[in-house]
């Protein structure tokens, strides 16, 4: 890693196409940060409850709860975020009479683009500011962020709202958010991908959009589920020779009738690796960000053990 190390920042976001492993990466990075002595606030933006499942814990709400030693987790809730904002900033005198507001909130937020986004990114930035000022129980905020398309809207919400809203505290209070989000010493947006066509294409597009539409510092591109290269070129010639009819017949005599399956399995592994290599090449050629590789895990379980393994892989990559 060049410049400031990833874990020395205050805010790490993980985004990418659906299904590439954003949640696992956020959880694994949190484990890694906690091991480096950081107190972590882990934020799940699209609350599905999958984030805490990585720690074998039940889903959390808006109020942070410890899910692992050194790791607090919370789920984003824009309505709760609004209430917190009102309480902290406007000192709205009669909270009891906000009934209509709660009912209308969802409605207005849907009609007024940027409101939900600003409440999401605002809460995140606020937690970062609190940690910088030493007023929080955490040193770093790690976000399991929204998927590609939506994250651009969230990160750009502070600017977008300034275009839409002409006056009011929301307008005047979005400046400091942009300051946090634009500071490369504080923030890094990381894109998770897999070496497959659509995720790679979306990553290339997302990186370009993040640069063009929102001025946020980009950290790394984490390439998840990288299959191992089985053979060197010379060894592959030997493997091909083993698949020859006569050799396979002899091999069946020596290792048993199931050996064709074993050879077929390796052939599938080789061709899967090969089709993916093309996309890795494309990613390397078109994205000028540090790439971090996380191997495909051949494991039976999921949950904490997997997060642990991914954290180890990340640790090796980041320190190399």
């Amino acid at each position: 890693m060049s410049g400031v190390g990833l874990l020395d920042r205050r805010l790490l976001l993980f985004t990418g196409k659906g299904g590439v492993g954003k949640t696992t990466m956020a959880a694994a990075t949190a484990l890694l940060a906690a091991e480096h002595g950081k107190r972590v606030l882990l934020v799940e933006v699209d609350a599905k409850g999958d984030l805490t499942a990585q720690f074998e814990r039940a889903p959390v709400g808006f109020t942070p709860r410890e899910v692992h030693p050194g790791i607090l987790a919370m789920a984003m809730d824009t309505e709760a975020s609004l209430q917190e904002y009102l309480k902290l900033n406007l000192r709205v005198p009669v909270i009891g009479r906000l009934g209509p507001l709660a009912r209308v909130f969802d409605f207005v937020a849907t009609a007024a683009p940027g409101v939900k986004e600003i409440l999401t990114i605002g809460k995140i930035c606020w937690e970062v500011r609190e940690s910088i000022n030493g007023r929080a129980d955490h040193d770093i905020v790690i976000v399991d962020a929204a998927a590609s398309g939506h994250v651009v809207a969230q990160l750009g919400a502070a600017d977008a709202i300034q275009e839409l809203v002409d006056v009011g505290p929301i307008r005047t209070q979005t400046g400091w958010m942009s300051d946090i989000l634009r500071d490369p010493a504080l923030t890094a947006v990381n894109v998770v991908t897999t070496p497959e066509e659509m995720p790679v294409t979306e990553t290339i597009e997302l990186v370009a959009r993040l640069r063009a539409d929102v001025d946020v510092p980009l950290g790394t591109v984490v390439v998840n589920r990288v299959l191992p290269e089985l053979f060197t070129r010379a060894d592959e010639a030997t493997f091909d020779a083993l698949r020859d009819d006569a050799a396979l017949e002899r091999l069946t005599e020596l290792a048993g009738p199931g050996v064709t399956h074993v050879v077929d399995g390796a052939r599938l592994a080789v061709s899967l690796r090969r089709t993916r290599a093309v996309h890795l090449e494309r990613l390397r050629a078109e994205v000028d960000l540090p790439l971090v590789y996380v191997p495909y895990l051949f494991v039976r379980t999921h949950g904490l053990r997997v997060a642990r393994m991914v954290a180890d892989a990340l640790d090796q990559e980041l320190s190399s």
Partner: protein
Amino acid sequence: MSAPRRRRTDPTAPDFDELLAAKEILVLCGSGGVGKTSVAAATGLVAATRLGAKVLVLTVDPARRLATALGLEALGNRAHRVPDDVLTRVGLEPRGELWAAQLDTKQSWDDLVLSNARDEEQAYRILENRLYHNLTARFVQSHDYIAMERLHAVHATGEFDLIVVDTPPTRNAIDFLEAPRRMAEFFGGRLLRWLTLPYRAGGRRATRVVNVASRPFYQVADRLLGGKFLQDIAEFFLEFQSMYDGFVERATAVERLLHDRRTTFAVVTTLEAAPLHEAERFCKELVARDFHLGAMVLNKTLPDFFLDADGQTAAEACLERADAISAELADAAPASAELADPVRTARVLRTVAESFQNFAVVAKREAELRNELARVPDVVVRVPMLDAEVTDVEALAAIGRHLVGTIRP
């Protein structure tokens, strides 16, 4: 060990192709990255060739690759017919017609406004409103709604025997099912009337008249957003409200269509923990909401040979006796030059065996997840992970063959 390909709770339940023949709309859903678009295209291919249907694949993903594969320049908002020679080239007989279209959210919304507005002047006032632009272009929910609305419009033309819909990559998969109802509520709701009432009372662009009930809301909202912003919202909705009847009628019709017996849903998933979890939740929600859950497609699964007991024995033998086997292979006549070096051959054998064992672990995990599937539809089909990527019609055809079971996975 070979797991049953289908699990049937009802012996009279149809196969996947029977399902396609019986229905007019197939909605595919599932979380991101499971291969919905490919399955949608493959389904269209099957319907157009095997069943001889005139079928439309309506996709929402920017699927340039798919367009290219189907021999189309690009998939626009309009349906394009896939040239027959694209199918014949890979040995498929196009007994029906395959059409494809891609959903353009912005364009579809504009069309909807143009067709529902009182007059052109009103239509353009709405189209140029900055809130309209944001609402339609940036909101996932508006994407969901317009996909369903478009489906209704296409179905109403009666042009196609079957429409296969590849749903938007929604964060919460259930959202798009709610979209028509929510849209109707949104435009027709009392909240909207309540919100715009002060403006209406004072006339457009006039001073706001706030009643006692809404005063606390406006006090907070003004401080939060500024009065101008609220006025913008109100003006936008006042315009939109005049189209209310048309909108609600459409939304209701869309909802009715989704519940119609001619419509069925298929949940696509891989056998990984998170997508499967999502798929199960989706199945449950569909059933709870009285939608027809027709099939589950387990996509990109590992082949069963990884679970084969003989395979496992052979892998162990290769690992344990790599040196002895390699020596035998080197001595065998006529020995291939590539097998002459027993050290190298032994290394390759160990690698091959280890790789098999690695994949066997994943295959076992998949089998366990498959067996644990709590609530599944009558038709469960498996599409194995293909050697090559799904970049051409040949690969789509391969998926199609697995869907209808002419090749046992």
